[in-house]
């Protein structure tokens, strides 16, 4: 019965051509692997895994297809295309020194040589367009077509006894090439493969990435033969063969390894040199392809189906088993109920905790902001006093009549600097306060801190003249650059008014230049100088005082504003948290009250499902002749 499946003796060519397709289908209907595959597909559908079912259906369709696809895979520049050429003894695939093959190329039997480009959405789908091209122009047409992007494969037909039995050789772009699209198209082609020839050249051993690739290939197509190419130029190829066998054994890959030389084979074909052909290793490779791939098609089909079905069933089993374990542990001696009650208690405890803490964070916020306001005010007072002292010291000796304008700008700068440092400190501290408040919340969340600690209009309270725009979540730096400009403006205005009408600045002295050089160019009495100095001091003092009162009020307002916005933010947050916790408490309570009998029913159902899957898996194992690994569960 097994032999009715895929067995197509190569001695009867053309038995299962496209026209004979229906006949083949009827005959394979009874094949055991097909039953198992269909059952697995049904199981996949029942477990809501349409993706798996789809994959298996594709595999099924391919197994029923009379074509036998052999994929030639490998890293770039290993000689894949040349291998295909040497196998069919014709330069059908373009060969080059750089990455040459850009689309999978299907080489199959045809009465007369022909070639075609196939377009479509993807290699797995039905092609949308098939354009015949002259066989000698295929390479140039493929490379010219790279821009279009929907070229999925090239097809070449040549009359060859090897391909007569329905064998299709698929040459693929190198895996691990710098263009990911090439690698992707190779893996898409891999899904269709019945057997794989993995190509690696004999100048070096199998690399880590090649072994990776080999393992990856094994998961979707277990029938792999490793072909070692270019043994003509590799002096040490025998040692490489040995080492590669060891590498394969270590990686647990049961694959045949065949060393060949395409160059020798092609040369032998040209000269008709039989000995050279034997030397090329190709007779062995072709024999292997005939025996292990073409003749053993049914075994192959079973093996491929077994691997695919096994992997699908494993994926189905996992969630069912997890559910069963969870239920089992709950059902065991009412322990489940205890767990649920513990969850409920935990939820309630966390609500209480939140309530307790929410009282705390409000206190923290109020206290910290009060401290902050008083600290800020002290800092500002300290700074302005220092400035005043500097002013006093200056006017002990200097003549305000000389270089008053420079003094004016110095005073402006000093005050602005005091204001900006002070304000920056305010912003820094508020940020710190916000973090501290956030810490008193019993949860960790990304959005615990408000997006911006400073309300957009915080500076409105500072500057009545200009409104600098600060972006959201502004860096402190930015905030006080804006401040600097505006406050400077206020200051100039204030100082100008306070000095208006003062008699001490006379027109003659203004042009004097140097800032308080101590030298007077006008002969004046000490008396008048003293009076001028006193007037300057008191003008400056009045101005600094005005500044202090105005700016400290601004700062207090800003701080209050920040406090208010923080309070709003954190209360909303607290409410949200409470709602979440209440919800989880409610669901925990529902779980406790859940009907016992309903639970039992579901448990039984899951157990039945698992039994079914295990039975199916055993059938798969039987199919593979014990090749599939055990599922690792007992039903």
């Amino acid at each position: 019965m097994l032999s009715t499946g895929r067995h197509r003796p190569s001695s009867v060519p053309g038995t299962f051509t496209r026209t004979g397709f229906t006949g083949t289908l009827c005959r394979v209907m009874s094949a055991p692997w097909l039953d198992v595959l269909d059952d697995t597909i049904r199981a996949c559908a029942a477990h809501n895994r349409p993706d798996l079912a789809e994959r298996l259906r594709e595999k099924r369709a391919r197994q029923l297809d009379p074509k036998l696809r052999v994929l030639v895979i490998g890293e770039p520049g290993q000689g894949k295309s040349q291998l295909v050429n040497a196998m069919v003894n014709a330069p059908v695939c373009p060969v080059g020194d750089d990455a040459t093959t850009t689309v999978p190329t299907f080489v199959q039997h045809a009465e007369t040589p022909s070639a075609a480009l196939v377009r479509g959405a993807s290699i797995a789908n039905t092609p949308t367009e098939r354009i015949p091209v002259p066989i000698d122009q295929l390479a140039s047409r493929v490379s010219a077509d790279q821009g279009g992007g929907d070229l999925v494969r090239a097809e070449i037909g040549i009359p060859r006894a090897l391909l007569d039995s329905g064998l299709v050789l698929i040459d693929t772009p190198g895996v691990g090439d710098l263009r990911p699209a090439h690698t992707a198209s190779t893996f898409a082609a891999l899904l269709q493969a019945d057997a794989v020839l993995m190509v690696s050249d004999a100048t070096a051993e199998l690399t880590g990435s090649e072994l990776e690739l080999l393992k990856r290939v094994m998961t979707s197509c277990p029938n792999v033969t490793v072909v070692l190419t270019k043994i003509d130029i590799a002096v040490q190829w025998r040692r490489v063969v040995e080492r590669n066998r060891a590498h394969l054994a270590r990686a647990g890959v049961a694959a045949k390894l065949i060393p060949v030389s395409a160059a020798l084979r092609l040369r032998a074909a040209k000269t008709g040199d039989k000995a050279l052909n034997a030397e090329s290793g190709f007779p062995e490779l072709l024999a292997c392809v005939r025996q292990d791939i073409v003749a053993a098609a049914d075994v192959l089909a079973r093996r491929t189906v077994a691997v695919t079905a096994a992997s699908a069933i494993k994926q189905l089993v996992t969630p069912v088993r997890e559910e069963l374990t969870a239920r089992g542990s709950r059902a065991a001696g009412g322990k489940g109920a205890e767990d649920t009650i513990a969850t409920l208690n935990e939820a309630q405890r966390r609500i209480d905790e939140l309530r307790r803490r929410s009282a705390r964070w409000q206190t923290v916020l109020a206290d910290e902001m009060a401290d902050l306001v008083s600290d800020i005010e002290y800092d500002l007072r300290d700074r302005t006093r220092k400035i005043m002292r500097e002013v006093d010291k200056t006017f002990e000796t200097a003549d305000p009549a000389l270089g008053w304008d420079k003094f004016e700008s110095w005073l402006e700068d000093s005050l602005t600097e005091a204001a900006t440092t002070n304000f920056a400190w305010l912003l820094d501290r508020s940020e710190w306060v916000a973090e501290k408040v956030a810490k008193s919340f019993p949860v960790v969340r990304d959005d615990l801190l408000p997006g911006s600690i400073f309300p957009d209009d915080v500076l409105d309270r500072v500057s009545p003249m200009e409104k600098p725009v600060i972006e959201k979540f502004s860096v402190v730096q930015k905030a006080f650059t804006g401040l600097k400009g505006s406050y400077g403006g206020v200051l100039m205005f204030g100082l100008a008014t306070s000095l208006a009408g003062m008699p001490l600045i006379n027109a003659i002295s203004l042009g004097a230049g140097a800032l308080f050089g101590g030298k007077s160019i006008i002969d004046e009495s000490d008396q008048r100088l003293r009076r001028r100095q006193a007037a300057a001091k008191s003008a400056a003092a009045r101005h600094v005082d005005d500044f202090f009162i105005k700016f400290s009020k601004d700062c207090r307002d800003a701080a209050r504003h920040i406090q208010r916005s923080l309070r709003n933010h954190f209360s909303t947050l607290a409410e949200e948290l409470q709602e979440t916790l209440l919800e989880s408490a409610r669901s925990a309570r529902r779980a406790v009250q859940d009907d016992n009998s309903e639970r039992e029913r579901r448990s039984l159902e899951a157990k039945r499902e698992l039994d079914h899957l295990v039975a199916l898996y055993q059938r798969v194992q039987a199919l593979a002749g014990g090749q599939a690994p055990p599922l690792g569960i007992s039903a």
Binding site: P76, G77, G174, L178, D201, I233, L264
Partner: protein
Amino acid sequence: MLDGTTLEDEVWALLEDALAVYRDSPRAVAWLRGHQARFAEPVRVAVAGSRRSGKSTVVSALIGEEFAPTGATTWYQDGPQAKAHVGPYEVPVTRRDGKAFVDAPDAERVVVEWPSRSLRDLILIDTPAEAPVEQVYGEADAVLYLTRHMHTTDVRYLQTAHDHPVARAAPVNTVLVLARADEIGGGRIDALSSAKQIARRYRREATVTPLCQNVVAVAGLLAVAARTVRADEFTALSRLAALARTDLDKHLLSADRFVADDFPVRLDPAARRGLVDRFGVFGVRLTTTLIRQGFDTQVKLTGQLVQRSGLGELRDSVGIYFTERRDALKARSALLGLDVVLRAEPRPGSIGLATAVERILASTHDFRELRLLAALQGGRTRLPGDLDAEASRLVGGLGTNPVVRLGMDYEPTEGELRHAVLDTLGRWRDHAVDPALDHAQRRAASVVVRSCEGMLAPLS
């Protein structure tokens, strides 16, 4: 550096500062002192790559002596006589199958001193394939990365190497080598020109360009043979070349046939095996063809082989990108080393040092040049028309010698040179304020201006 201020002094001073900050940590002090000592050394060039990518062969070719691979990280440096050390112990250097062989089976690191002119301004480090990328890039100032075909794993390796704040700020220290170029195309006689074409393609490949300064194709086996060909080998090759071409070709179809019993010339099979081991099938094919074409003395043949094997180009690349950029590379390594200390043992003083590292990276003109070069090669910055190529030449993309920078194909007098620099400077000053260019382009132009000014400084 181009002008009088030296990057080296600046970095040295920074290391001194760091030593003061970390004077109580013996580990940090030892590390920093090591980096100070590195300053005086020649540029360290590591040869890295996956297994069997031809690392030892390329090292041998660069030194001009065939070394058997040790399996350990092996340092090759100049010395008065041939000797090797494992730690403090001297190990013998012997000859095995004609190769210099260091007998140190379980060593992790071997230091070989070898009298060679090639090692005068270069320390070569042969790294094992499994050496972690951080170690390779940490020990070396520059890296030759070898690969047979550019594979995604290679790209990942190089990306890891560049994933560091200092490495990003001063990106330039890798040259990609397509080693074993002789195996391309199944050892066809024109394999090397084809390999050079592939190298050219990689140079333009968007994924590869930002990761290396240049891509060079080298036939390692041939390069070694070129530098070490012996008289008896030459005689044997000449006798082979004397055969009729068709006769010889039959026996050069495969390595097996070349050492088989029926051979038209009386050459010992062992000698033939030696030849094919040393030269490869391709090497024998190429050398016999060359001898037939008239390169029939050992000197002529060697010259041809050095050029054809790509060794010349590789040496040029090492010169332009590594030894000529010694100061920048050394400074870069020192800053990387300092960065390690600052991260590993943060302390109050280290913030100031970190700022200083950043300042040097941002403001030093050498690094600016290297960054611009990387940006131009990676296509992140584009200048209109011919300016693109000229800019990368002027900032030292082809070499840092003023004559090379200016693209002059003759040896100019000082006056001519001065004239050329002034002319170029004037033009690029205009580009730097050209309103038709965008901001990035004008900034690139101002880097070029600064390079020109640097060339002018020693002239006036």
